[in-house]
Symmetry: C2
Subunit: 520 residues, 2 copies
């Protein structure tokens, strides 16, 4: 058995049976081995950033890692931005990065580069397989490392892949998540019940239904304000789930949400900081005089810790769950508000929402709060181009659930070829591209810069660099060019009709929603 | 004057007046400063890999660096593959990577990552600007470093950009290229005139007309076989230029070209190695018993060294220049052969050819050898997705010259959004996408793997992973969706007509050439 077969068998044995792949010559023996290991599903992407973003979306929904197959250092580089998002999400991923044969490295052939340096910037585990005899065990170790909540990158030299002497390896035990210290739980309980104003900020695995129910009980019993981290990895929400607001992305909103708190209790969330720095503004968002109590770290067993805490401070309290409620179907011109209401009206039971709508999505949380129960995946690391790929992976993980990919136009273009994989795999993904012809969030940032006196004259050249409307991107043509049926809408009624038709037909669809930018 | 203005003024003073940009919030003061420094042209790209590939194409034609503007570590990551190609080309580029404010770094905000590790993997020079007082001098140092033939990455914290106290800096002296040692020239001259079989392999700056003329004189006078490196950064060729064959990409072809050589004289080229390793095949392509004479390193002053060598061994010899000759315009079905002949028939005077045609381009060198004088840019580092971006930059550098981007379908999809920048900037770029619906080069590799007995059964799952024809990519729709007029052709006559119409109209065009894959 050659190394490639041993690798594939070992991945499957450890529960990794999907590989998002963009192979090259050095990966050809891995590709050839796929026919010998039919349990492994290989999903082709046309760009590595789609593969890594898909692996992120997959693991967020499947709760186990997928593999990626990437072509040397440049392939890894192309996947880096979505690996950054996955790192911030704590998503388990196993990257298999093909490399030159071990005996070829000395020649510094054209595709050679410093894979370790690049891999190390996003991975909690990096390893080169030294021989075909090792690669099975290396694969099992990679999966175990990933399952502990990190990115594991296994560099696979071509000769390790093609040489005989490989053997499949059994799964390795997975390190359990860090649990809360009893003293930390007790200290948080004391803070929550001391009568001073408290905020309970939850993240990590506590943004699913069970964790949120416990958090809601704590908030109800103690009067604490419940918030989730700004960008949850996977937020369960909708009717029947305990609702929780998210800490604001904009620093002034977050400051407002945290104002007056004397205690900030962190369960699976990091202490809040502003996303970017601004002149004269604080980066640390914890109010003056507020004591921070970390019950368990971001990567820890946050839902378990919340259950313990709820047992202490809210033993008799039942959670308040969101009631079913939909907005009224709006009519007339499509705007950020009416478009959000249409989504809230129609979002189906069990939907997976992949949210990269940026400014066009500001109305979505409110409009969907009472929609049927669904999952919400967010842009955890701020590296745009995550939506279409993550939707790919979420749909591969959950083929029986509808995926709604709510996508801004600017960020869509980073990884637009994901649409082709939607079509190739007949994924039930409905993509909404909000076309406002602008990097609208950056327009807002430029306004702030201008308000501080930094813009010269009319700022025409600066503004032009944030304008993506000349020429106007035609997402119907782009989707059609990649085999995804698409339609353009500019009214609420048209949008609703397009979403209904997409839901009624199998396979992927794209709806180009023409909306005015929030910042003109 | 804030740091951003000082940076822009200093770049311009050092001769960098084009910036390929994909900005974010941390770069907003750089963007705002553009209105104060109108000498700097900012070209917006929708993806960072387009920005870096454009900077590569620009510098290859302008012989001076452009800047890029990238958004923190993930933006740099997205640009990494084309920076890899630029590194292998020896192209000067100045990356400006925006970063969090210096005082914000301690918070490990979501977009933070190890920029140095990633930048270091492609850059010869990496530096963080520490203060607005430094940034002007840092910019001048970055340009000087880049002009010596490397990638210089300047990390620009947001507060350095927005803070006052900046001052423009004057240009810094540029290190001159490494020149050949007289002993090395003499040793090469001795080898070339000793009567044994010699190959003269030239690269670096010696693949322009002057270097090739000197190389041709040497070959004519001594009987040496003249070859250029496999992937020249910029190859001048066509009628009136001394012709030189390229060392083959396929190892067996290169072995054939070098067979029997007793001396291999390297002038600006690296000793030949195979692009990839294969089971049981040598990586070092220098024949047994052949002595290698390195006259000057890849990055050195190769054209000067060739002139010296020619003065020694070919004082009275004149170069043989390629004569004007065109293939006959073919008719009938479009194939790799007929499509190449059409290009050879119509390639205009002064064209810049950006070649990422991969298997569909195998007939191009022969068909264009006698076309009017032109430049040929190649995929130096093997990281696909270089063609459309490099064409962008080449056209910005040389607005009066027609750019023909000859592009494979699979590799086009990595950086397809470059078409939008072609349209936005009204670039005179004619893109030919050879649509064969396959990763055809990988099909060839899989056949080799199969010939060695590594394919299981009919290899259907492996083959499927190299098939990009389901759904078929529609490049006319994709181009139209980004504002580039496009047409699909499947006959030689149709292809010729489309190229003629593209040449007759200003601005960008795309021709989708439907060709059968070379490997079925």
């Amino acid at each position: 058995m050659n190394g490639a077969h041993a690798l594939l068998h070992s991945l499957v044995a450890s529960g990794v049976d999907v590989c998002f792949a963009n192979p090259g010559t050095s990966e050809m023996h891995f590709v050839a081995a796929l026919d010998g290991v039919p349990e492994m599903r290989a999903v082709l992407t046309l760009f590595e950033g789609v593969a890594t973003g898909a692996a992120d979306g997959y693991a967020r929904m499947a709760d186990r890692p997928a593999a990626t197959l990437l072509h040397l250092g440049p392939g890894l580089g192309n996947g880096l931005a979505n690996l950054h998002n996955a790192r911030r999400a704590g998503t388990p991923i196993v990257n298999v990065v093909g490399d030159h044969a071990t005996f070829h490295a000395r020649y510094d052939a054209p595709l050679q580069s410093d894979i370790d340096a690049v891999a190390g910037s996003v991975s909690g585990w990096v390893h080169h397989s030294a021989s075909s005899a090792d690669v099975g065990a290396d694969a099992a170790a990679a999966v175990a490392a990933a399952r502990a909540g990190t990115i594991a990158t296994l560099v696979l030299p071509a000769d390790v892949s093609w040489s005989d002497g490989g053997a499949p390896a059994a799964p390795r035990p997975v390190a359990s998540r860090v649990t809360a210290e009893p003293e930390a739980v007790k200290a948080a309980a004391d803070a929550l019940t001391c009568g001073e104003r408290c905020v309970l900020l939850v993240g990590g695995d506590a943004t699913r239904a069970d964790g949120l129910a416990a958090a809601d009980r704590i908030a109800t019993a103690t009067g604490a304000r419940l918030l989730t981290e700004t960008f949850p990895t996977r937020l369960e929400r909708g009717a029947g789930v305990a609702p929780a607001g998210r800490l604001g992305y904009a620093a002034d909103m977050a400051v407002h949400q945290l104002r007056g708190a004397r205690h900030l209790v962190l369960v699976g969330a990091r202490s809040p900081v502003s996303f970017f720095a601004y002149p004269g503004q604080p980066g640390d968002l914890v109010p003056e005089g507020c004591t921070v109590h970390e019950v368990v770290v971001r990567e820890g067993a946050a839902a378990d810790a919340l259950a313990e805490l709820a047992d202490l401070v809210a033993p008799g309290t039942t959670p308040t769950l969101a009631r079913a409620s939909r907005p009224q179907l709006p009519t007339g011109a499509l705007t950020v508000e009416t478009a959000s209401a249409v989504v809230g009206t129609l979002l189906p039971e069990g939907a997976i929402v992949v949210d990269e709508a940026i400014t066009s999505g500001l109305g979505l949380p409110g409009a969907t709060a009472g929609a049927p129960r669904h999952d919400w995946l967010t842009l955890t690391g701020g590296a745009i181009g995550y939506g279409l790929p993550a939707a790919t992976g979420a749909s591969v993980a959950c083929p029986d659930r509808p995926v709604w990919c709510l996508q801004a136009d600017g960020s869509a273009m980073y990884t637009i070829s994901a649409l082709w994989t939607h079509a190739r795999e007949s994924l039930d993904v409905t993509t909404v591209v909000y076309n406002n012809s602008a990097y609208a969030i950056l327009r807002g940032e430029l306004q702030q810069v201008g308000a501080s006196g930094f813009v010269v004259g009319d700022g025409a050249r600066a503004k032009a660099l944030l304008d993506i409307g000349g020429p106007r991107l035609d997402f119907v043509a782009l989707a059609t060019g990649m085999g995804v049926p698409a339609v353009r809408v500019d009214t609420a009624e048209g949008f609703a009709g397009a979403l209904r038709r997409a839901a009624a037909e199998p396979g992927p669809h794209l709806v180009e929603a023409m909306v005015p930018p929030l910042v003109a």
